[in-house]
Symmetry: D3
Subunit: 239 residues, 6 copies
């Protein structure tokens, strides 16, 4: 029995609130249950140095957590003077995941930065960030298309969404909340495209190692879950 | 004529959304028009080193801005490795303002940290932070009273609220938004208590110096404005 | 009765020692009693990035304290790896104050940095810095005029001087020394021009809030005090 | 055809040079072809703060690269003042991987730090670090057993080894060197135990997403490869 | 011919202004010609961690330069966030030099920090710092003796003084000023005691290597020069 | 009697292993007994900013220690966020020493960075770094000559080698290992050229001051020792 009472293959309630931010070219407040992440997409005309004069653009991500997004207050990273290893790991993951569905040449020499700031955390902040970040990216590209800067369907090749799965109380479950995450024996994150391709897989045994069979069960849960998320993304932008 | 069409003595629409955050002992999303600040109050059992064994507690504040809270994306302070001078100036102001209405001895050896994170900025983020921070502090103290840790009315001596005033297009106006703030000749921030006492005054000539008379006009606007804000605070907590 | 025996409206003995430094284009050792600050003005041909090709120059300030300028040795900021919030607050104030009397367009694309280093501290280091910094700036501009780089009277529009006032033992007093500053209920700093305009006002209630009437008394003291300082600046440069 | 001419399922020549370092309690120079990593294990009597008085110990890892371990010289992290995101990601992976086979309670309140310093890099530095790090850890625990501090077989529950696999030129290959790694469409790292359990899986699509079938082929290669590595570890310590 | 017209074995005019600082237990403004260094000695009751409960005290030094002590303004180390290599090298030298004449056991578990801040630089700042630092240290120990905390003659075993010598225009000269220092082929610093013992020797060929004979000539100049400095120290404290 | 049993004028066994690193233009693993330092020379086409368009190149050095190169593990400098004073002092010494035998104009607008990384430490790491660094530099210049970028004999004017000497148990000895270094009364480092010129001398009294006579004995030992080292360098490159 999961603490939340959810069936093993049921995700939390997911919602996307587009245009949450007045200033950003694209923005989305994404909620996976009590995990709330504000994703904004900011367009800049300049690319990173290593792409100057390459004709290619760049999509990158930054991730942060408000100090009291969590049960206990965490030290503010700006005050401690550096971003921790976990922060850097997550923001690299978000950037890679979104770039996997972007044609950087079709984007041209511009940079889009996706900021994912966790307003409230209850497990799964990185998967919510990827999934909501895609909406912010879509809206930014839409904004650019409106101004004849790009063709949206040339730049954005597919959807991308992410979900966590894990082994909790000896059974594979999807979309772990904080309580489950803290107690899970295995924790895995999957990033998949609308077409069902895998972009990123990260599985970690927190306690005892897991088997190939267990891993495949997690993968199956994730395949179904990311398809659901993609359908919700489509609904969100389709309106 | 103000860009917003407001009369010179009219503040923007102000609202307080209490209990915005699931985890914090007190929290409030405060809005002054398009300026939105999330204020959370976090209770810690330990005081700063210089108060150990003094019997006194501490109230402090930290301030941050999401990178795309503003019209152009700003560099994330956690990524640049330090908090800028403006950030430090503001968080020191918030902390001093709130401490002005707290009896630190009645609080006892505890620390309350007020985090003020700007979700969206349109001028006046520091005054919204003080005003909303007071609500978060109140709710945190209420939470403590419920647990018999303190007597709320012994610890919290009064309301405190803040408002900006400035000279825009040669006339004194209250509660400047970003457009006005950028063009104002003089910009002043006032922090005042429910009883009408002044806690903090900061006035800066952005262009030409201002006169004693002009300053007194700003002060009068601020006195009326902070009284309005205090009334709204009372309504917000009274419900 | 003030610890120093001074009447409430009497400043400490103030002196300016021009050309204290062999290398700087302008320099002044300013003393407000036992508070001694070395102000140097350094001319650089380049402006900050945001003013490139604007035709405008910049005046900025940096502030520091020798570790044993104070009663107890303070940690050296260079060793601790960052400038504290107080340092940044003060150097921003000094820069704003001096820019208020400079025509940056008449200066042209150059930068003048005013370094204010506290050799010995006894309260009022920021007001001494502004007041002495003006002398260093004047001498630097004079140096430039001698070399036909600028017209001094086009660039420097007025004098600027600063003084602290506060409520000590229930009465308003001017130019607080360290003993008074530590015990004052209210502490305010005023920056004013030779023409009597207000450039900056900062008032803080250290203990209980202050009233409009008290604040106006402090302002009156400051108006008289800054006029005295301007007269002393005139004498210093007139010789 | 692989650049190195190796069959798709052939790893590079692997060697372990134990006791490479005079001072460390355990040490091993591990080579995966031209990738050379010095792993040292350092025993400290104190644990991290969050384990004080818990009766449990800790195993952690740090990772570094000599500036000219790579084809182009990289900036020294000590000189740039921080460890990059990639460094932190790798050292967290190494630590988690080794802890997966250690009984921290049986270790007792001690900390073992595994330093993995890349002397020469040619792809696969993290997998060499995990595999060689296990040898250094084993030797450190042996050193402790000799001094009756622990029972080695109570503390170290199994072997752990890691290997990279990827899709290069449309076919799954094992143990990518730098040339393959730069051109691979998919890159995955697997950490597995002697008993065949999976400790960590990380797969990333560098170009187009990969399918479940491709991922399973990589997994099969990794299972065989890590078993080979475990056999080599056994030979290395069995002497 | 030296730029200053001094004979090869003539030092610049040296002076010591004791009790320059109101707050420090010992202080001295030392001048070697246009090189002016403020040395303060600060007594703290606590020793560094590695001496806790050893019965021994510590003498350490910190060195800094005001940004415009030099011909061109240098970046403030507090602003750049770290002390440069040259700063660290010099402060380590000053600390070692002074400790060479102190009995740390007779001092007891206390720390004295000698801050050497260069107000104006014209070559030889480190040698002025050592020489003037000794005076500040003496006065601090005197202050302690007055309070019956130590016996001065048990703690301070001898004088210590420092001088630079170099090969300028092919001839050995003493006490190089900035012009000479910039052009010298060889630059050496000597720290010697009142009894004539050598505490520290540092010689560097700036251009071509120097010979044993040349080095011995520099040493002879230094022996005479440090004896002169010791005589001046005696006169300064004898008054 | 020395702990190692060596006669006072006998260095430890010295060896050079050239081409230790696959990637660097020049590299050498130098061993002075149990002190092992990997020196690599990296060629970059760009010079430091202050040499742009000067026609001159630059040779610089960086120094590091693996955390467990020493008896007790030292904190990794990359993790602590800065290079300590000792590290900076040593890398400045290595750079100066190598530049003393290089004609920077003949090198042209290029930079060669010598990285000296201590794999294992047993005293004398800086002298091993200079001596082995020269080999790496030689091989890098050889690599450039092969590509017709420079004339080796125009750029590299002489050999340079370094050795430590000290007073241990009241007698002058050469090439102190860690045990001797920790107990020595005086510790000196000498850097000398093949022609016998002195490039750098650093002598420090660790306990009581030393005399001119003692210093000359150390210098004599060093002269003989560096000549031996130069002979070994010649053998190493001559093969």
């Amino acid at each position: 029995m999961r603490p939340s009472g959810r069936p093993v293959n049921q995700m939390r309630k997911v919602s996307f609130e587009r245009n949450f931010s007045k200033h950003a070219e694209g923005s989305c407040l994404v909620k996976f249950g009590d995990t709330h992440v504000l994703c904004t997409a900011s367009l800049e005309e300049k690319t990173p140095p290593w792409l100057r004069n390459s004709g290619k653009g760049w999509v990158t991500a930054e991730y942060g957590m408000l100090p009291r997004a969590t049960g206990d207050r965490m030290k503010r990273e700006a005050a401690s003077g550096k971003q921790g290893g976990r922060t850097q790991e997550i923001q690299r993951l978000i950037g890679r995941s979104l770039r996997a569905v972007v044609d950087l040449t079709a984007l041209g020499e511009k940079q889009i930065t996706i900021d994912c700031d966790v307003i409230q955390a209850d497990g799964g902040t990185r998967t919510a960030s990827v999934t909501g970040g895609w909406i912010a990216l879509y809206d930014c590209l839409k904004w650019m298309e409106t101004r004849s800067m790009i063709k949206l369907d040339k730049v954005l090749k597919d959807h991308v969404a992410a979900i966590s799965c894990g082994i909790f109380a000896n059974q594979p479950v999807i979309d772990l909340d904080y309580l489950e995450d803290s107690a899970a024996e295995t924790d895995a994150n999957f990033v998949m495209t609308g077409a069902g391709g895998i972009v990123e897989v990260q599985g970690t045994a927190e306690g005892k190692p897991f088997s190939r069979e267990e891993f495949l069960q997690l993968l199956s849960l994730a395949e179904a879950g990311t398809q659901e998320l993609v359908a919700m993304q489509k609904a969100a932008i389709g309106g």
